[in-house]
Amino acid sequence: MVKKTSAFLKAGFISTVFAFTGATTQAQDNWSYSGNNGPQAWHQLSPANALCRTGQRQSPINIEGTDPVIMHRLITDYKVAPIDMKNNSHSVSMTYTPGSHLRVGAKFFTLQSLSFHTPAEHTVSGESFPMSVQFKHRGPNGDWAIIEVLVKEGRENIAAQEFLNNMPIEAGQSMKSASTFVNARDLMPTDKAYYRYMGSLTTPPCSEGVSWYVLKRPVQFSKAQIDLAKGIVGGDSARPVQARNNRMILDARPQ
């Protein structure tokens, strides 16, 4: 574990949006989080982005009015993986080596990538968090499952600091090393109690049918770390909160 953590610390910071693949999730490189190509205009950038405007089950949302329900636990089986990051101008993405999995009841997903958002995309009872980490998984049928870990300001996160120190800070820059390893689990809280609802990708093309798991317990980053992460992508990297539209939001209670 010490060795793994040490290797993890040699890695770089991982951030924002993913390189989507698949028929319903074609990447759109010309979007941004502000300005003329910002969230209000995503649907105009490509016909494939229509759901960004017309979708009724969009993400992120404000988590409130939840119903308590006994739910399956999130069982994360994440492996150490070599670092593979790229700064794609509006974000930095990290592709995760296949072999790390998430189980929820009978459902099975493979971890695809990680991202950081400043501020956090979901809010809880109107409360906004300065940052979040999203763990993006895909099921055998191509369905997406995303875990969002909220970040609050507090003590320094040692693992994240090493990421920040090695992050590809320039657009187009990559950071890939077969000898530098990370483990996604180091950025998750031990307590994985969560809120659950059905939503969408938070970037174009805003595809729906995404299983969202927003963890209740935040992890801590220092103010300097949060500011540094925000500075690397040049500002906010979060889509505004979308309408709930009477969707179920469950407050997962342990079995």
């Binding site: 009015g65 119903d67 329900v69 929820v104 009841g105 979308q242 709930r244 969707r247 179920m248 469950l250």
Partner: protein
């Protein structure tokens, strides 16, 4: 009143949240009393209770939280009113709460006719009990999609075997049944909500119950596809496998047929 979430300011959110919280509190309070004893009818057309127009309008326009507020602004006396409230609750995204209301309505056995439609979309059309049962099944499916564990596995008491059946169901001790198929008639009054449970075997875990369901179906081909499960606390969780029937006499007859061929069987009242 019908303000879309997206256009609400902070005060609107607070008001709405407070209003909804109050409504749901009233709902919770109402659900703790016996509201099935009264017979005050909802607005009726002939013998069918229609959902009040303002409630229907709110639901059909996507403002089901407003429908909850309307429905809980006065005491709900009739079963149809309770069903309409449950529908509004579900439509507002509170399926878990609606589930409890539907369960009680289904068990009430109310034969009051109700009708509610949003254009071509049927919200309810039939007896209160039947509509509650349909909605309950749909809610269960929705919750399962969202990873709800509606049948949690309970921790076992120390010393209890995890795999062995509780009963002496002779042919069910083995996960694969190789004996001859036993001849029983497919019961006509079978229903997922039947009161009478023809008990064939029990297991300590969902996994074992699931695994052995096919064994029972092999043993009793006439019961294939209608084997139900019933979780009870018998010094710990027990999952009973059997068939639910509406008719007690038919349950007795089926059970006698099973026992006459040497297999275990008992008729149980699920309402106890």
């Amino acid at each position: 009143m019908h303000v879309h979430n997206k256009n609400q300011g902070p005060k609107g959110h607070i008001f709405r949240a407070a209003s909804l919280a109050l409504s749901l509190s009233l709902l919770a309070a109402c659900s703790s009393v016996d509201f099935f004893s009264s017979s005050r009818p909802a607005k009726t057309s002939g013998d069918t209770a229609q959902m009040p127009q303002d409630v229907l309008g709110a639901i059909c326009e996507g403002h089901a939280e407003d429908a909850i507020t309307i429905m809980t602004s006065e005491p709900l006396m009739s079963a149809s009113d309770r069903l309409f409230l449950a529908i509004a609750t579900e439509e507002a995204g509170h399926s878990a709460r609606a589930r409890q209301l539907y369960a009680r309505l289904m068990q009430s056995g109310s034969i009051e006719m109700v009708s509610a439609r949003c254009g071509r979309r049927i919200l309810a059309e039939g007896t209160v009990s039947d509509e509650a049962a349909k909605r309950l099944a749909a809610v269960a499916r929705d919750l399962a999609v969202l990873d709800a564990n509606l049948r949690p596995v309970m921790p076992l008491h120390k010393g209890l075997p995890s795999a062995a059946p509780i009963t002496n169901a002779r042919a069910n001790n083995s996960p694969s049944y190789t004996g001859p198929a036993l001849n029983v008639a497919t019961p006509g009054s079978q229903s997922p909500f039947g009161q009478w449970f023809v008990h064939l075997a029990s297991y300590r875990t969902i996994e074992n119950a699931t695994k052995n369901r096919s064994t029972i179906e092999t043993q009793f081909p006439a019961l294939s596809g209608i084997i139900d499960q019933w979780e009870v606390d018998v010094s710990g969780l027990a999952i009973r496998l059997g068939v639910r029937l509406n008719d007690k006499a038919e349950a007795d007859s089926l059970c006698n047929a099973v026992k006459s061929q040497g297999a275990y069987c008992a008729v149980m009242d699920t309402s106890n």
